[in-house]
Amino acid sequence: MDIDKMRFEHLMVERDFACAASTLRCVFWNIGQWKDIWCPVDTVYVNYDDGCHQEFEMRVQWSGRQQHVRTVRLLTEAGDILFFCPTPPFNLVYQSGLWAFQDCANGCRVRAERWFIPRMQKNQEMDRFKNEFKQRLIELLLRISDSVVE
């Protein structure tokens, strides 16, 4: 698979948080705690984590079924978290993405971006899938925002 030769879809969601980027970056990196924050996450098993590189397996409830996702993440020198999925969700051929953190006046802004290749071909299915995917990202950012406030 060479993504240069494939057409991939793109999503972006942003949200402001009332805390420092460094605080939030830790919440996003500590993937083992996500099951306490976001209810679709059933289990997380971290295979490797040296603080800059991380590999984990996650079982999540998406689209009405449990899915097994394997993800590798990299913390960049700029403080962003990049990732790719050697085992993406079942309805994706490919997924990569990033969490970008930027301090701003009253806290920080998080930008979530996703690049993916869905298995479905029909435009109607694709539109519905992209909408659900975007809503899921918005919901995740909301849940993380709640957990930081608590």
């Binding site: 240069d4 030769k5 490797y48 590189h53 790719f84 050697p86």
Partner: protein
């Protein structure tokens, strides 16, 4: 940081591809006897590699991320025996005579007291591999 570098008289794409395409390494480096590329999307790789060492066979597991024609970043999630951490980079820079390749390793040892000798051995290994890639790319060996 431990590093070594070399100039390879070839074009940037050929040099980058030779270092990126891990399954090809068994044809280049005599001590690499098996590569299992579990994932490769053209930018990200997950692999296991088995190499022959004087002490026996070693199998490492790692991830690599490419910035095409610029660099390859390595993290071994299962490093070789004796290493707590093995991170690395290859940087590729066009030069007048070909491509300047710089290999860098950031490591932590299980037994830090023996660091000096082991650093020397690792640097020698990096240099040997760069020379082997150079010979392969320039002469087809």
């Amino acid at each position: 940081m431990i590093e070594s570098s070399i100039i390879i008289k070839s074009d940037l794409q050929s040099v980058f591809d030779a270092f990126y395409h891990l399954p090809h390494w068994v044809n280049v480096l005599h001590d690499v006897i098996d590569v299992d590329l579990q994932y490769d999307d053209g930018t990200h790789q997950v692999f296991t590699m088995t190499v022959v060492r004087p002490s026996g066979m070693e199998t490492v597991r790692g991830i690599r991320i490419a910035d095409k024609h610029v660099s390859i970043t390595l993290c071994q999630t299962t490093p070789p025996p004796g290493f707590l951490k093995m991170h690395g980079y290859w940087y590729f820079t066009p030069a007048a005579e070909g491509v300047f390749v710089r290999a860098v390793r950031d490591v932590k040892w299980v037994e830090p007291e023996a660091t000096g000798k082991r650093e020397g051995n690792l640097r020698d290994c990096l240099t040997r591999n760069l020379i082997t890639f150079k010979e392969h790319l320039e002469n087809g060996h």
